[in-house]
């Protein structure tokens, strides 16, 4: 295929095929829908980030002097809700998954293109609801909505927030459903299960969780809304109800939800590590099946969020053991990535820098999860900053790093332009430094006893130093996040046109043009090679991966 040079006339592709707002808002092209999602989730990322900024500003000083405690409660609640439900859960599947799943399997679109568009509109409706909720007073229950505070005592807009998240769940379910049917039914000839990119396996596993778990939080929110509106007693101890029932139902989804957030990122990292080591992934089957194992095991561990809530100690022991078991497939992946790197021909392009960051930070986050799974330790660090550090290491150090790495890796394919490599490497470094400066002190803070969700820690003023470090780190992290926004936008207008395969990467998506045509391929591909055939890609001309940018 001819690589695109500075041609005066652009080939027809999915971006220039039709112009006009209507052609975007009524599109059924999975690639355009991916971009619609990209804009929406980036918007919510900034909203969630804004709340984080306010939280960190408040915590610069021990006293609750920037905001009052009631407002602070709203800040961390809305930070959590927006980041979890409106950024992290959609992020990679709705943007990179939507764009790449059909291309990677050689299909022309997802199985249900109109349902794909519907899922974006559902997300937008949910987004409008949550924005309205935030602008008219917000909610202060914590993103976890624990009862009976949320159902009987809170004076904030619990019902509206609950409804917003209920609606957003259907967007997630429909995306997952679409992916599963597509992967089963629409693979190109020759694309057997064992030739699928591991990105696809990761999204398949993610979709299973979305399909099976999300309905449970949906019904839980229905119960919360009903209880609050009708003054029922399902979760209220004063009326014979059990608050722990809410927690069981809530965490049955919300724990697997964290695997919705991390599995796609693992898929991205797998693709990047293979490409920038110029090697087939070590232990393909292990990585594929560990994705499925994470999805399955992830449903067995939810009550480790409730060890000190009042569950029976026998149940706690069972869930503790299962929580140790769920770490195994994740560890399997880390070993496989490391073994892939070993004796690979490593290239330090920006996507790879993000992948390296992911490896270290995800490992730390995952290991600290094991600390939390130990019952004795949990008693000490539950509801402290240790937990906050743990999950931010995985969600930000893991999921967001993977998302950024993937955006850089596939940006030439998506936009047809190259981003500036120098700036990208700098941004990756800033993100890494900023992240560690923000969240490592929080491990220490938590271990030393600083509780989470407190606006005022003036009874423990010795914690201020670490909090100041954390806030400083957050500022650096913010700069690191801002840079890609700026240079991606810049590249759309001024970036060099991208060749079809700037990384000389394996994968069907790279065999199409950058950007691809509306129906993805000029001719339906027929696959006769194994996945990650880097030995074939590199062998004939032994050419180095071009350093782009």
């Amino acid at each position: 295929m001819a690589t695109a040079t500075t041609q005066p006339v652009e080939r027809e592709n999915y971006l220039n095929k039709e112009y006009g707002v209507g052609s975007w808002l009524l599109t059924t092209d999975h690639k355009r829908i991916a971009l619609l999602y990209l804009i929406s989730i980036t918007f919510f990322f900034f909203i969630g980030g804004f709340f984080a900024l306010l939280i960190r500003l408040e915590l610069l000083t021990p006293a609750s002097d920037l905001v009052q405690a009631d407002t602070y409660n709203k800040l961390f609640t809305m930070h959590g809700q927006v980041m979890v439900f409106f950024f992290l859960i959609p992020s990679i599947p709705a943007v990179l998954g939507n764009f790449l799943v059909p291309m990677m399997i050689g299909a022309k679109d997802l199985a249900f293109p109109r349902i794909n568009l519907l899922s974006w509109y559902i997300y937008i409706v949910a987004g409008i609801l949550i924005l309205h909720c935030m602008l008219t007073g917000g909610v202060d229950t914590g993103w976890t909505f624990y009862t009976p505070f949320s159902t009987a005592f809170s004076n904030t807009k619990v019902i509206e927030a609950g409804l917003a998240i209920f609606v957003s769940g259907f967007s997630s379910i429909l995306t997952g459903l679409n992916f599963v049917v597509t992967i089963h039914r629409m693979r190109a000839p020759g694309m057997t299960w064992s030739r699928l990119p591991l990105f696809i396996w990761a999204h398949y596993a993610t979709s299973i969780i979305q399909i099976l778990g999300t309905p449970v939080i949906a019904i839980t929110l229905v119960l919360v809304v009903a209880e609050r509106a009708l003054h029922l007693g399902i979760f209220d101890p004063k009326l014979g109800g059990d608050p722990l029932l809410f927690q069981h139902l809530f965490w049955f989804y919300s724990h697997p939800a964290v695997y919705i957030m991390i599995l796609p990122s693992m898929g991205v990292v797998t693709e990047i590590i293979a490409c920038f080591s110029r090697k087939r992934i070590f232990g393909y089957s292990f990585v594929a099946f560990s994705s499925i194992a994470i999805a399955v095991f992830g449903f067995l561990v939810w009550a480790h969020h409730m060890f000190v809530a009042g569950i029976s100690v026998y149940a706690a022991v069972i869930f503790s053991i299962l929580s140790y078991a769920v770490a195994v497939p994740s560890a399997v992946k880390v070993f496989n990535w490391t073994a892939t790197l070993y004796k690979g021909s490593i290239h330090y392009d920006a996507p790879m820098l993000y992948a390296f960051g992911f490896l270290g930070l995800f490992t730390m986050g995952g290991l600290t999860g094991l600390f939390l799974a130990a019952l004795g330790v949990n008693v000490h660090v539950h509801d402290t900053y240790f937990v906050i550090a743990h999950f931010h290491y995985i969600m930000v150090g893991g999921a967001v790093m993977g998302y950024l790495g993937g955006m850089h890796f596939w940006w030439p394919k998506i936009s047809g332009k190259l981003y500036p490599e120098g700036w990208a490497r700098l941004a990756a470094l800033i993100v890494f430094i900023g992240f560690n400066l923000t969240f490592f002190p929080q491990f220490v803070l938590g271990y030393l006893g600083m509780p989470r969700r407190y606006a005022d820690y003036s009874h423990m003023p010795e914690f201020q130093v670490l909090n100041v470090l954390s806030t400083a780190g957050a500022t650096v992290l913010g700069v690191g996040y801002l840079l890609p926004m700026l240079y991606f936008l810049w590249s759309m207008r001024y970036g060099k046109p991208a060749p079809d395969n700037p990384w000389n990467a394996a994968g069907l998506e790279w065999k199409s043009t950058s950007p691809p045509p509306t129906f993805n391929f000029e001719e339906e591909p027929v696959v006769t090679w194994e996945a990650y055939n880097y030995d074939e890609l590199d062998a004939p001309n032994k050419q180095e991966v071009p350093i782009v940018g």
């Binding site: 089963h184 299973i208 099976l212 449970v216 722990l244 069981h248 049955f252 449903f299 067995l300 939810w302 009550a303 569950i311 029976s312 100690v313 026998y314 149940a315 069972i318 869930f319």
Partner: protein, 97 residues
């Protein structure tokens, strides 16, 4: 779905229909008999049998060309079972100590 004779699917449809009605009647009557703890078990067994009949014959799961659909059903039931069983692991053992 093409069958060799017109009557074969009809026969199975009507047989399943009768079985379902009989099962309903049985459930109702057995509930009036004191079987102690087994009342719930029997009711659920009959209900599950009825559900299986609907799924296998009315929803054509039995003749499905691939095992994939059956896998979807089994996975769903498995995870529902996990929700129920592990929740009961808490509630059932709270009074043990």
């Amino acid at each position: 779905m093409s069958d060799h004779s017109k009557s074969s699917p009809l026969k199975s449809y009507f047989s399943v229909w009768i079985a379902l009605l009989v099962g309903t009647f049985l459930t109702y009557e057995i509930a009036k008999v004191d079987l102690g703890v087994f009342n719930s078990a029997v009711a659920l067994i009959i209900a599950t049998t009825k559900a299986l009949l609907v799924a296998l014959f009315f929803m054509h799961l039995k003749g499905a060309s691939e095992r994939l659909l059956k896998l979807v059903v089994i996975c769903t039931i498995f995870f529902l079972f996990i929700l129920l069983a592990l929740s009961m692991a808490d509630y059932g053992t709270r009074l043990w100590s």
